[in-house]
Amino acid sequence: MSAQSINDLLFEAATLLMVGMGFVFVFLTILIAAVNLLKAFCERFPGQEPQAPTRASSKAARPAQANEDKNIVAAITAAVHAHRQANR
């Protein structure tokens, strides 16, 4: 390859260096803006976060479950009591 054509290629490579880096930066900067928009959008319209309903439902479920537990404990206590009475 002649020095002249290498010089031409080098010039082209330098152009690519600048255009390429410039484009990568511009593209990713736009992406930063897009992510910030996305964040703003999601804060504005939170919608249904899947964690939220489960947390709410578990809170609601807890008292009911506690009542149920009490009933079960009472039933078992009664059964054990009856069993002991019968086998005395």
Binding site: M1, A3, I6, L9, L10, E12, A13, A14, L16, L17, V19, G20, M21, F23, V24, F25, F27, L28, T29, I30, L31, I32, A34, V35, N36, L38, K39, F41, C42, P46, G47, E49, P50
Partner: protein
């Protein structure tokens, strides 16, 4: 006596050429690195074995009709395998750290300087007699600096298939060497005080943001850089599969079985390009050298950018995380974490480094798209 001559003629011994023996030794070296030293075994192992198979005399693995010939034509010549790998990588990537701190995208962009600087260097090598790189060759070599295997293979298969073997081997070897190449550069460019900086914890990122993110990236790529859509499109496809949560079965297949199957064939196909006439050239030496330079420059550019951002934000960013801008997920982020811990035992930078790390994947895909659009 005549039969004896025919029998001798049908053994490989009579047909071995020196180049084939050397390439088999190279294949064995790759196997050694993979099995004994644990260097990127998932790829160097099939590549090494493929290299041995390719160089068997008389077997014709890479002649039309041979097994590796078909695997190469179907998978790499068509560009399909690297894209399928990219889909799997997308399905394994969590963009949470990046969405929480989108400024990290700048670090992913800065580290791509390694690619474009190496492009310049590859052309400059033409001044040395024996090198004859065209702009396409130089672009394919430069993408090694993106530290992203599938991107490098994809671009090389588009721009410079003859150099593909050397480029893939260089890319994966240097990715395995990230823990050795990066720390000296990172330490040289930062002060001990800067390495000790602790970063604020990242905010919580909602599932909705994570689901919309790949769609946003895809939309921007469609609008501004359609030539990168094969890479970015498959990547976003895999990532949306993971984040949307309704196709768990597909997402699991993409990140496990499918990517494993494709990796086996991709490795073999790359190995099939390690034939003596293509690999044993002075150009291969140039590619290996340029690859190391590309990695070094990319790391340095990332760290310097992070240093600048650290200054501008009043020291809330640890400059070390810039080194993770050269994709190589998650190896580069782990290296950052390790170097950070050496300076400050209570400083865990892993999550902070994952941001620039996945930004680097996007950055190198964008850089590949730019090269395809301008050179291809």
């Amino acid at each position: 006596m005549e039969q004896l001559a025919i029998l001798w003629d049908s053994t490989a011994l009579a047909h071995f050429e020196l180049g084939q023996v050397i390439m088999m030794a190279v294949g064995a070296l790759l196997l050694y690195l993979a099995i004994v030293r644990g260097f990127e075994p998932l790829l160097l192992f099939p590549i090494g074995f493929g290299a041995i198979l390719t160089n068997i005399p008389l077997a014709g693995f890479t002649d039309p009709g041979g097994l590796l010939y078909y695997i190469y034509e179907v998978g790499i010549h068509s560009g399909v395998f690297p894209l399928l790998i990219f889909m799997g990588v997308g399905a394994m990537t969590d963009f949470g750290a990046l969405i929480a701190n989108p400024k990290m995208l700048l670090l992913g962009a800065a580290a791509q300087f390694g690619i474009f600087a190496t492009l310049f260097g590859a052309i400059a090598l033409n001044f040395i007699p024996g090198f004859d790189f065209t702009l396409k060759d130089a672009s394919a070599i430069a993408i090694i600096g993106g530290a992203d295997g599938p991107t490098a293979i994809f671009l090389a298969s588009r721009l410079s298939p003859d150099l593909l073997g050397a480029i893939a081997v260089a890319a994966y070897s240097y990715m395995a060497l990230v823990p050795i190449i990066q720390p000296p550069i990172m330490k040289a460019l930062t002060t001990p005080e800067e390495r000790k900086i602790e970063m604020a914890q990242l905010r919580h990122v909602s599932k909705k943001e994570k689901t919309l993110f790949p769609l946003g990236v895809l939309l921007l790529t469609i609008l501004f850089l359609p030539s990168a859509t094969p890479l970015v499109g498959m990547f976003c496809f895999g990532n949306l599969m993971k984040e949307c949560g309704v196709v768990d079965r597909l997402s699991k297949t993409a990140q496990n079985e499918l990517i494993n199957i494709v990796t086996i064939f991709l490795g073999l196909a790359v190995g099939s390009k390690l034939s003596a006439d293509k690999f044993l050239t002075v150009e291969t030496l140039g590619i290996l050298g340029l690859g190391a330079v590309a990695f070094g420059i990319g790391t340095a550019a990332g760290v310097l950018m992070a240093k600048l951002m650290s200054r501008l934000t009043g020291g809330s960013i640890n400059p070390l995380i810039g080194a993770a801008g050269v994709s190589a997920v998650p190896m580069a982020a782990r290296v950052v974490n390790k170097v950070g811990l050496e300076a400050n035992q209570h400083n865990f930078l892993l999550m902070h480094a994952m941001g620039p790390n996945v930004a680097g994947v996007l950055g190198s895909a964008v850089a590949a798209g730019v090269l395809l659009a301008l050179v291809g």
